[in-house]
Amino acid sequence: MGINLKELSKQEDFFTSGHRACAGCGPAIALRQALLVAGKDTVVSFSTGCMEVVSTIFPYTAWKVPYIHSLFENSAATMSGVEAAYNALKRKGKIKKDINLIAFGGDGGTYDIGLQALSGAMERGHNMLYICYDNQAYMNTGIQRSGATPYGASTTTSPSGKVIPGKTRRRKDLTEIMAAHNIPYAAQASISDWRDYMTKVEKARSIKGPKFIVVFAPCQLGWYYKKEDTIKIADMAVKSRFWPLYEVENGVHKITKDPKKVIPVEDWLKLQGRFRHLFKGENKKIIEEIQREVDMRWERLKKLEEAGL
């Protein structure tokens, strides 16, 4: 399938309207884009979270493909069983076609509580794609900090106060953790760069074995920005190099978008209420620290790419 607007406009949506997501929801866009590529013969498993809740409420479903949710920490494990079952049925000749298996999880269900199940599934080599929609906190339960919440961000469990200026720890680098599983494909994408993201989904689909994509999907409710700015916020994360778009194919890093005009990370931070406290007094040095880290990570990524690693 060609990833272009002309082709895409002809595609049927399998994550459909009628879901109960907020206006300006980034994750809902991430699901729709992935399903436009994956198509009809797809099975989706889901970890507990915003997108699980908003796409269901029994007896309704926003999915036009089979969907299974079974708890928070086990989207990857559940899909392992689905894959094994299809293999068992294939061996008996009961099903013939290839089915895309996509396990979804939010950052809480992936970076944190589901990391073990994801790691196990990737190590075992199941033929599935895991997509983490990353909105950098536990949004379903009301904006609590997760392993994906960036340094300095204020959440309901890492609130900025007089003594503690928001989250004091760095976020995990999940893409590198997944790449370290020596899986054939791990990638980082953003809903703002739909062609890049969907090309990655398409590429992952064509590769046999375990694949992983983490897609940057801003949350207007939890990040405190204007809801019409979701794509802009995602775009600025890429342009500031806070969220580099790259892939690791068979262990080799490749940057898939090198922003032509790089913007200071401060420009991106200041549009979001979760970083508002960083612009006051002493906390301003945290912005410098964030910029230093963004630059350092980008340099590291460039070096890996240049070295063919």
């Binding site: 269901t56 029994f58 299974i68």
Partner: protein, 384 residues
């Protein structure tokens, strides 16, 4: 074919002849031989199943819920801490109406760290919506796996076949392994009504509001009630094909008994020997073994216990702050009966301490002297 098998291998053969299609398990003492033999069978091609070697028991059950939702037959085995780790998923398996069958080796919980037998692990899962079958020998372990699939798949309820750590799991006995053709006759392939199928998409596990949830719980209870009959039917059909008889309960020398010993698992089989020895001494005593604990065969139990003079329930488990768990259930089942015996509760053998025929005789002789139960627990074999 007759073979000398340890209880663990009886579980593996049970899964094999039942043609389990997806197996997912994580090793834990004293369960490991179950999955080792199944792995070997898969490696040799003797068993055509997909074996997922998961990274935890939690994922083992998650994977089976996924597989079962596609509509294939699934199996796992675990014990104690592993079962507790699975606990969240046990509720899910029952709620999702996936007829997963698993073996659980009854092992005591830690701390104190223990690998020996006790029933608190499986009994802590009492209210998860799993059927529970307590086997007394290795033949029953194997046969119960086959029957468990039959009943589980007819009602879409999961089932747990339970055996005592070491006393059965690592004890070798002669076991008849039923021929495949006969098993196929008894157990047709699993057909799931609603499954994960891209040609007919459904959503599973959606948020369910108070307007819908209640009825779905009611249906689980109704299926459990129906299961009582299904276990008896399965037992009868099993007997007609394989010649071995199984029911919800087993009675031994009850017709003229004035007192009954009530127990489960291997303590019940030891108690049979104790009954014989007591009978030799002229004691009118019999045995009631609870084989199927969930669904609880309360009506059947009432039918047997209401006419006896005394009932002695022996528990290798304890509901802390209350009493032995079988004792609680049996007492509750009898409460509304007009005619009921005094029921004595004995707690013994925790953490795998041996319970011999002599111990059971002593329990009987002690209880028979008592007029009425003064407390809910009579401790036996306690060293203080």
């Amino acid at each position: 074919m007759r073979k000398v098998l340890m209880g663990n291998h009886a579980l593996s053969y049970g899964a094999k002849v039942s043609r389990a299609q997806v197996i997912s398990a994580y090793p834990i003492t004293p369960q490991t031989e179950v999955v080792e033999l199944l792995s070997k069978m898969c490696a040799s091609g003797e068993l055509k199943a997909k074996f997922i070697k998961v990274e935890s028991e939690h994922s083992a059950m998650a994977a089976l819920i996924g597989a079962s939702s596609v509509g294939v037959r699934t199996f796992t085995a675990t014990s104690a801490q592993g079962l507790a780790h699975m606990h969240e998923m046990l509720h899910w398996a029952a709620g999702a109406r996936t007829p997963v069958v698993m073996g659980n080796i009854n092992r005591a919980f830690a701390p104190p760290w223990s690998v020996w037998t006790e029933q608190n692990d499986s009994l802590s899962q009492r209210d998860t919506g799993w059927m529970q079958i307590y086997a007394q020998n290795n033949q029953e372990v194997l046969d119960s796996v086959i029957q468990a699939y039959k009943v589980a798949e007819s009602l879409d309820l999961p089932a747990m076949v339970i055996l005592a750590a070491f006393v059965l799991s690592h004890t070798s006995e002669t076991v008849e392994i039923p021929g495949q053709e006969k098993v196929d006759e008894f157990l047709p392939p699993y057909e799931r009504k609603y499954k994960i199928d891209p040609d007919e998409p459904h959503a599973f596990g959606g948020l369910t509001d108070p307007d819908n949830y209640f009825e779905l719980r009611y249906k689980i209870q109704k299926a459990m009630e129906e299961a009582l009959e299904k276990w008896e039917e399965a037992g009868e059909e099993f007997e007609s094909i394989f010649g071995r008889k199984y029911g919800l309960l087993e009675t031994y020398k009850v017709s003229d008994a004035k007192s009954l010993i009530v127990s489960s698992s291997t303590i019940a089989s030891t108690a049979r020997n104790a009954v014989d020895r007591l009978r030799e001494k002229g004691e009118k005593v019999g045995l009631l073994r609870i084989r199927v604990f969930r669904p609880f065969p309360a009506e059947k139990i009432r039918g047997i216990l209401s006419s006896v003079g005394k009932a002695i329930v022996i528990d290798r488990n304890i509901g802390f702050g209350a009493s032995g768990i079988f004792y609680q259930e049996i007492k509750a089942a009898m409460y509304n009966e007009e005619q009921k015996p005094p029921i004595f509760g004995v707690v013994t053998g925790l953490g795998g301490r041996d319970v011999s025929s002599k111990d059971i005789i002593e329990i009987y002789q002690d209880v028979i002297r008592r007029e009425e139960p003064k407390s809910d627990i009579i401790w036996k074999g306690l060293k203080l």
